[in-house]
Subunit: 136 residues, 2 copies
């Protein structure tokens, strides 16, 4: 499936390339808005998920911030209920908290992801979100 | 003048409150998306400018990143030509570089502003951009 043109226009920022790794359950796209760099220490990515697609459980040693630009999706921290996300929502992911994010089952979803405190280290990927964990 | 509804819908994020300081030439709005905080060290603001409105010359000791969400505006570094900005554009403002940003004369303009390397210190405001400096 490719990104519907009507949805892509609402994302505002470049969608980039299809993600080729095992940490996303299904198709997702990554646009590099700000590359990792020692002058700003603030990598920024545009991430777009096909309906139903989410990333694995993971944690960021320095935290992360999500700015939702289009569609409907979820953010869940371990031990908490998944939070429904819509455009305009902001998520502050604390350092070291195990979590996942991704699209709702029936909606494309796109957010900007801002890495914070990058000197604390890289993302640590863990196991996939199961169908039982994913919100109905 | 208030923000036209058709424009406000394109901004995606909350426009916030009218800016009440002397560093903007005319009406502008500031929405706090992420407040200053020692866990993330990454304050994020939504800034909306009435047509023709720009901020004063200023510099950020730690740099700043702009993500343009709607409208047309300008970014200018001292000694360089002003850069025309449209939605989807990204501006990486280097630490300590004197610059200004704001709306084009005939367009509302909105960008997200991300403060980087905040431990380097606060913004330093300088003199207004003159009509001679502002692009025709």
């Amino acid at each position: 499936m490719t990104i519907p043109q009507q949805f892509e226009e609402r994302i505002i920022f470049p969608v980039g390339e299809k993600i080729e790794n095992e940490y996303f359950r299904g198709p997702a796209w990554l646009g590099v808005l700000v590359a990792p760099d020692s002058a700003w220490n603030c990598p920024i990515f545009n991430v777009t998920f096909e309906p139903g697609v989410r990333n694995n459980w993971h944690r960021h040693p320095g935290g992360q911030i999500l700015l939702v630009t289009a569609g409907t999706g979820y953010y869940q921290e371990e031990g908490k209920t998944a939070r429904l996300l819509n455009k305009g929502d902001v998520v502050q992911i604390p350092p070291d908290v195990r979590h996942w994010h991704g699209a709702a089952a029936d909606s494309w979803f796109s957010h900007i992801a801002i890495s914070t405190n990058v000197q604390q280290g890289d993302v640590e990927w863990m196991e996939p979100v199961t169908d039982e964990e994913y919100p109905e």
